[in-house]
C-alpha cells in the first residue's frame, strides 16, 4: 500500500492528495468507475435504468433483513439480498412483460419502505443515513482490495457474457436459435450489476448510485457509432466524472458522490449537444 501511495505522490503532486483518505478515495474511484461504465453500456441499451435504480434501493432492505437475521456484515446482507432481488425482478419481467415499469416500481417502493421500517425502528435510522448519500472518503485499504477483486472478477465475467448478452438484447429468439441460453445470460448480467451496485453503494450512496451507472453510458451512447466506442466513451466519462467530482468535492468541502454525478450529468448534456450539432 505504501508503494502505491508513494507512486501517487510522485505522479500526482497536488495538494489534495497529501491526505491518505484522498488517496484511498482516488484509488476507489479508479477501481469502481470503469466497471460501472462498462456495465452501464448494456444497462442503457437494454433499457434497464429503472431496474438498476430499484436495485440500489434494495440495499436498505438487505441491511435491515441482515440485521434481523443476525448477519454481522452489512455488505454480505446487501449482496445476497441484491442478487435475490435482481433475479426476482427479471423473472417477473420475463413472465408478465406487459408493464415492466409498474412491476419495477412496486419492487422499488416496497424495498425502500421495508428497509426504512426495519432500520428506523427505535429512531436509529441516523446510523444508516450515510448509506443514502455515501462517503467515498471513508474507503480503507482493505475495501480497496475488495474493489480490486470485484473489478477483475467483474470484467472477466463481462468479457465472457458480453457477446451473447448483446445478441440476446437485440433479439432473444435469434439468440436462442444460435444456442445461447438467453435466460442464463440475462441472469448473469443482472447478478453482475447487483454486485457492482452493492459494492459501490457505500461510497456513492443509494440515491446517486444509479446515476453513476447510467449517465456515463447514456452520454457515451449519444457519441458512439459502435460497441467499441460506446465502451470507450462510457469508461472515459465515468473515470473523468469520478476524478473531477472527487477533486471538486475536496475543494468545496461537499459530498463527493453528488459532485461526481453532477459532472456525469454535465457530460450527458454536452453529449446531447454534440449529437444535435452532428445531425445538422
Amino acid at each position: 500500500m505504501q508503494t502505491i501511495y508513494a507512486l501517487l505522490d510522485a505522479l500526482l503532486p497536488i495538494e489534495a492528495f497529501q491526505f491518505t483518505f484522498m488517496k484511498n478515495a482516488f484509488l476507489a474511484i479508479l477501481l469502481l468507475t470503469p466497471l460501472l461504465g462498462l456495465l452501464g453500456t448494456m444497462a442503457v441499451n437494454q433499457q434497464m435504468a429503472f431496474f438498476s435504480d430499484a436495485l440500489g434501493h434494495s440495499a436498505l432492505t438487505g441491511i435491515g433483513l441482515g440485521m434481523i437475521l443476525g448477519v454481522g456484515n452489512d455488505l454480505v446482507s446487501m449482496l445476497i439480498f441484491g442478487i435475490v432481488w435482481a433475479l426476482l425482478i427479471v423473472r417477473i419481467r420475463q413472465t408478465g412483460s406487459s408493464s415492466a415499469d409498474t412491476v419495477i416500481s412496486v419492487f422499488s417502493s416496497t424495498s425502500i419502505a421495508a428497509g426504512l421500517l426495519i432500520l428506523a425502528k427505535g429512531g436509529k435510522f441516523a446510523r444508516y443515513s450515510s448509506l443514502l448519500i455515501g462517503d467515498v472518503l471513508a474507503v480503507t485499504p482493505s475495501d480497496l482490495l475488495w474493489l480490486l477483486i470485484a473489478l477483475i472478477g467483474g470484467i472477466a465475467l463481462w468479457c465472457v457474457i458480453y457477446n451473447r448478452l448483446l445478441l440476446t438484447g437485440i433479439n432473444s429468439s435469434l439468440a436462442a436459435s444460435r444456442g445461447i441460453r438467453t435466460r442464463l445470460i440475462d441472469a448473469a448480467f443482472v447478478v453482475l450489476v447487483a454486485v457492482a451496485v452493492m459494492l459501490a453503494i457505500r461510497w456513492v450512496g443509494v440515491m446517486l448510485i444509479n446515476a453513476l451507472l447510467i449517465l456515463p453510458a447514456a452520454a457515451g451512447r449519444n457519441l458512439a457509432t459502435g460497441s467499441r466506442q460506446h465502451a470507450l466513451f462510457s469508461v472515459l466519462l465515468s473515470l473523468t466524472s469520478g476524478i473531477a467530482g472527487l477533486l471538486c468535492a475536496y475543494a468545496w468541502d461537499t459530498s463527493a458522490g453528488a459532485a461526481i454525478v453532477l459532472f456525469a450529468a454535465a457530460f450527458y448534456g454536452l453529449s446531447l449537444l454534440v449529437r444535435a450539432l452532428r445531425k445538422r
Binding site: L38, Y162, N163, L166, G169, S173, R221, R228
Partner: protein
C-alpha cells in the same frame, strides 16, 4: 461457407400442439419439411404461424414430437436451425454496427474490446455472400427493412443450418428487396440442399417459388403443391375466392 452435406431427409412434426394459459394455440399439427425444398406456411394473422416457429425453435413448450430424420428414418440429434426473425424489434439508437452484431455471433472475444482481423475478414465474407458487403460499418438501427433482412440471413446461414426458418417481414421491405432476398434463399436451397421453412403473406410469390404449401389455422387445414392448396375449399374459406384469383 463450409461444404454442407445433406445428412437430413426431413423434419417431421407429429401431433404437435401448443397450449398457453389454458388456451389451445396449435393442435394436431402433422407435416414434413424436406431438405432441398421450400416449404411455405400460409394463413391469416393469428393462425399460429409464428407460434409454430417458436415451438420449432424450442422457445415454447409443445406437445407431440418434432423429429429430425435421415433417409433411413433414423433420428438425427443436434439439428442446426438458422432463424431469420420477422421484424427485429430492437432499440434503433443502440450504438451497435452490423459488424459488431455479426462478430458477436461468430467470435468469443467481446466486441467492445475490438474485432480481430480474422473475424473482420469473416464478417466481410458472409455479408458479401448476401450482397450486403457495404453495410459492415453501418449502425444496425440505420439499416432499412430489406438490408436488415439480408444481414439476418447472413447470420442465419453461417454456420450452414440443416433447417432455415424465415419469418417474412410484413412491412418495411419493398418488392425489390423481397425478390432479392428470395433469390438468395433459392440459391441456398439449390447449392446447399437446405430445408427451408418460410412464413409468407405474399401469395403471388408463394405460387411462384413454393415446393410445398401448408395452410394453417390452429391446425393444418390443407397441404400440398401450391396449385393444389390454392384450389382447395379450405383455402377459399380462409382467403376468399378473390385472393386465390389474384395469386393465379
Amino acid at each position: 461457407m463450409a461444404e454442407h452435406h445433406c445428412s437430413l431427409c426431413h423434419i417431421g412434426l407429429e401431433d404437435l400442439s401448443v397450449r398457453r394459459g389454458g388456451q389451445v394455440l396449435l393442435h394436431d399439427i402433422n407435416m414434413h419439411i424436406h431438405c432441398g425444398q421450400l416449404t411455405v406456411l400460409i394463413g391469416q394473422n393469428g393462425a399460429g404461424k409464428t407460434t409454430l416457429i417458436r415451438a420449432l425453435l424450442g422457445e415454447l413448450p409443445h406437445g407431440g414430437s418434432v423429429r429430425h430424420l435421415d433417409g433411413q428414418n433414423r433420428d438425427i440429434p443436434h439439428v442446426r436451425i438458422g432463424y431469420v426473425p420477422q421484424n427485429l424489434q430492437f432499440d434503433k439508437e443502440m450504438p451497435v454496427t452490423v459488424s459488431d452484431f455479426i462478430a458477436a455471433a461468430f467470435s468469443r472475444r467481446p466486441v467492445w474490446s475490438g474485432i480481430s482481423k480474422k473475424t473482420r475478414a469473416r464478417v466481410t465474407e458472409v455479408l458479401q455472400a448476401v450482397d450486403a458487403g457495404d453495410l459492415a460499418g453501418r449502425r444496425l438501427g440505420l439499416c432499412s427493412g430489406g438490408e436488415l433482412q439480408r444481414v439476418l440471413l447472413a447470420l442465419a446461414i453461417h454456420p450452414a443450418p440443416d433447417l432455415l426458418v424465415l419469418d417474412e417481414p410484413v412491412s418495411g421491405v419493398d418488392q425489390n428487396g423481397l425478390e432479392l432476398f428470395l433469390d438468395t434463399v433459392l440459391r441456398l436451397k439449390e447449392s446447399h440442399h437446405m430445408a427451408i421453412l418460410l412464413v409468407s403473406h405474399d401469395l403471388r410469390l408463394v405460387r411462384e417459388y413454393a415446393d410445398h404449401v401448408v395452410l394453417l389455422d390452429k391446425t393444418v387445414l390443407c397441404q400440398g403443391s401450391a396449385e393444389y392448396v390454392f384450389g382447395s375449399d379450405e383455402f377459399n374459406a380462409v382467403f376468399g375466392r378473390g385472393d386465390g384469383e389474384v395469386a393465379n
